[in-house]
């Protein structure tokens, strides 16, 4: 569906996307994950033919975006971060205009309009003026306009930004239902969203591809150690020693809890499942095992780890090169948004 090879986009001296290569198969839901300014929007704009790449080959649905932009645009539906809507039009006028400009045959416009309106649940506002709609409705009208020509590829830039929690859940459901008929690329800086809706995640930072995999594999691959969380009723030191004696255990860090309980975070090599041994040690010692569960590294941890590592490296590289600029999008500004989501 999409093949990107060595995509670089510069704005003057600023490099927004640096040598990015990836491909997307038909039917996939790909998430672009990265802090603000990482190059997500720029990449999407190149894919939709809005911006030409500085260098690199980009093919969408078998067509090169530079050589046959119109063919690409016929097959792509794009929803930018702020939905591009004419606020003085009524919703049905907006959809009809979008249909005509996207080349939907005149006879099919009505049926397509009705279909997308139902799909995005905006049937009840079709006669309202776009400018009078709430942010959530505008987002859905924008999505309906992007869907009107039944595109093979749907590109959604931060589809849930600025929505309330209920709307976010609805939008996610909608995206999931759309993924049956369309290949979807969406960008977000909200991590659980990528884990929820995508079958593949690309983490982008400062224009570079940092990691790419399924949300589950990403968690596994980047973990290094598996972490077990144990809550034990018993004395802290003896339990710690007993747990540290289990084969494969790397580190045991106790956190005292009220009521004579201690929480242990046990880091161990991921090759073998050692949960049984851990449980036996506790029981053999005569202590009470209240809880034992693996805690996979969350996408947030991975994200922070990757982006901060990358920043540190690029900072070093830049100090070596004595370059005056600071890396773009250096700070991972995620914590707040994650808790919001």
């Amino acid at each position: 569906m999409i093949e990107v090879q060595g995509l670089t986009k510069r704005y003057g001296k600023t490099v927004a996307v640096n040598d990015l290569s990836f491909s997307v198969e038909k039917g996939e839901v790909l998430g672009f994950l990265g802090p603000n300014g990482a190059g997500k929007t720029t990449t999407m704009r190149v894919l939709t033919g809005y911006l030409p790449p500085t260098t690199g080959k980009v093919r969408v649905a078998g067509y090169d975006v530079m050589e046959s932009p119109l063919e690409v645009k016929k097959r792509v539906g794009y929803l930018p971060e702020t939905p591009p809507l004419y606020t003085d039009m009524r919703v049905h006028e907006m959809l009809d205009f979008a249909a005509r400009i996207k080349g939907v045959p005149a006879r099919q416009i009505k049926t397509r309009r009705e279909y997308v309106a139902e799909k995005t649940a905006i049937t009840d506002v079709l006669n309202k003026i776009v400018g009078h709609l709430s942010k959530g409705y505008r987002q859905r009208v924008g999505l309906a306009a992007a869907l009107i020509h039944d595109p093979e590829l749907l590109v959604l830039d931060e589809p849930t930004a600025g929505l309330d929690p209920k709307q976010i859940i609805e939008t996610r459901k909608l995206i999931q239902s759309l993924s049956r008929d369309h290949t979807i690329i969406l960008s977000t800086h909200i991590l659980p969203e990528a884990a929820n809706t995508c079958n593949r995640v690309m983490i982008i930072n400062a224009g570079h591809l940092v990691a790419e995999d399924t949300p589950e594999n990403l968690t596994h691959r980047l973990q290094g150690f598996e972490t077990m969380r144990l809550v034990v009723e018993g004395p802290q030191e003896p339990v710690r020693e007993a747990l540290a004696g289990v084969e494969g255990v790397h580190e045991v860090s106790p956190i005292p809890m009220p009521g004579g309980r201690v929480e242990f975070s046990v880091q161990m090599a991921p090759e073998q499942d050692r949960r049984k041994e851990l449980a036996r040690k506790v029981v053999e010692g005569g202590w009470g095992l209240l809880e034992l569960r693996p805690t996979g590294m969350s996408l947030e941890d991975i994200f922070l780890k990757l982006t901060t590592k990358d920043t540190a490296e690029s900072e070093q590289a830049q100090q070596a090169a004595a370059a005056p600029e600071t890396p773009e999008g250096g700070e991972p500004e995620t914590a707040e948004e994650v808790t919001e989501a």
């Binding site: 030409p52 119109l70 003085d88 039009m89 205009f97 400009i101 306009a145």
Partner: protein, 260 residues
């Protein structure tokens, strides 16, 4: 073709979704109505005094020409109104799309920059034609109660259409330069004013520079049309000016992709 029409229709409709379309038409109708009243009243007054004069001295009354005395003046004044009405028509064409981000919808749709520019041009030209259409009933009254020659009137309207097209294509071009409608309108107005003022200078001097200036000046070329003569030279002047404005607009829209 279909894409151009889609855009043109959208532009045309958008003038009437906001008050701007009605406002422009109302102002024009009022101004035109006023000068129409003045020039017809003058004409009648002149004809009365001449008739009286002729009677007093027992001579026959000299012939009076409606084309020369009324219609020509009306059409030249109309072209003067365009100087400030056209910037109001064209300022929003691209500037507004850029400001609200709807340009992203157009630029990711399967249409070429040329179709986009032409669509917007014809959309504005359509509003302008409606504006000219307002003057038709006034002219019909002249034909009902007088007997003007119709050929110069047709030539005059053709000239107005070409002149309006030229103004619009310039305004369109300035609208692609900025996302601020006020800047687009000011640039258009200043440029049109400048091209108009050059004409005065060319009349006051006979040097070679003045001749060049008179060729550039935008309103000197309308004179032949208002006199009822369709000059090839002047028609070509307007057509090439329209072509240049549209070409530069297409280029400017294309370049926004590269500069973005």
């Amino acid at each position: 073709m279909r894409n151009i029409w889609t855009i043109a229709r959208k532009e045309m409709n958008s003038y009437f979704r906001s008050p701007i379309g009605y406002f422009i038409l109302a102002i024009f109708a009022f101004l035109f109505g006023f000068i129409y009243y003045r020039s017809v009243a003058d004409f009648i007054f002149t004809s009365l005094t001449r008739a009286q004069y002729a009677q007093m001295y027992g001579q026959s009354m000299p012939p009076m020409n409606v084309n020369e005395m009324v219609i020509r003046g009306l059409l030249s004044t109309t072209s003067f109104f365009l100087l400030f009405l056209v910037p109001m028509i064209t300022m929003r064409l691209f500037a507004e799309e850029k400001k609200t981000g709807t340009i992203e919808l157009l630029m990711t749709s399967p249409i070429t920059e040329m179709q986009l520019v032409l669509g917007k041009f014809f959309g504005s030209l359509l509003l302008y034609s409606i504006m000219l259409g307002i003057t038709v009933p006034f002219m019909m009254i002249l034909f009902r109660y007088g007997n003007p020659d119709w050929k110069p009137v047709v030539a005059g309207y053709l000239g107005q259409l070409l002149l309006g097209g030229t103004f619009i294509s310039l305004g369109l071009m300035f609208s692609t330069f900025t996302r601020n409608q006020l800047i687009a309108a000011s640039l258009t107005f200043t440029t049109l004013l400048l091209l108009w003022v050059i004409g005065f200078w060319s009349q006051s001097s006979g040097s070679a520079w003045a001749q060049i200036a008179s060729y550039i000046a935008i309103l000197t070329h309308i004179e032949s049309f208002t006199k009822g003569v369709i000059e090839l030279k002047d028609t070509l002047y307007y057509l090439s000016a329209i072509g240049l404005g549209l070409f530069l607009s297409v280029r400017s829209v294309e370049s926004t992709r590269w500069r973005a």
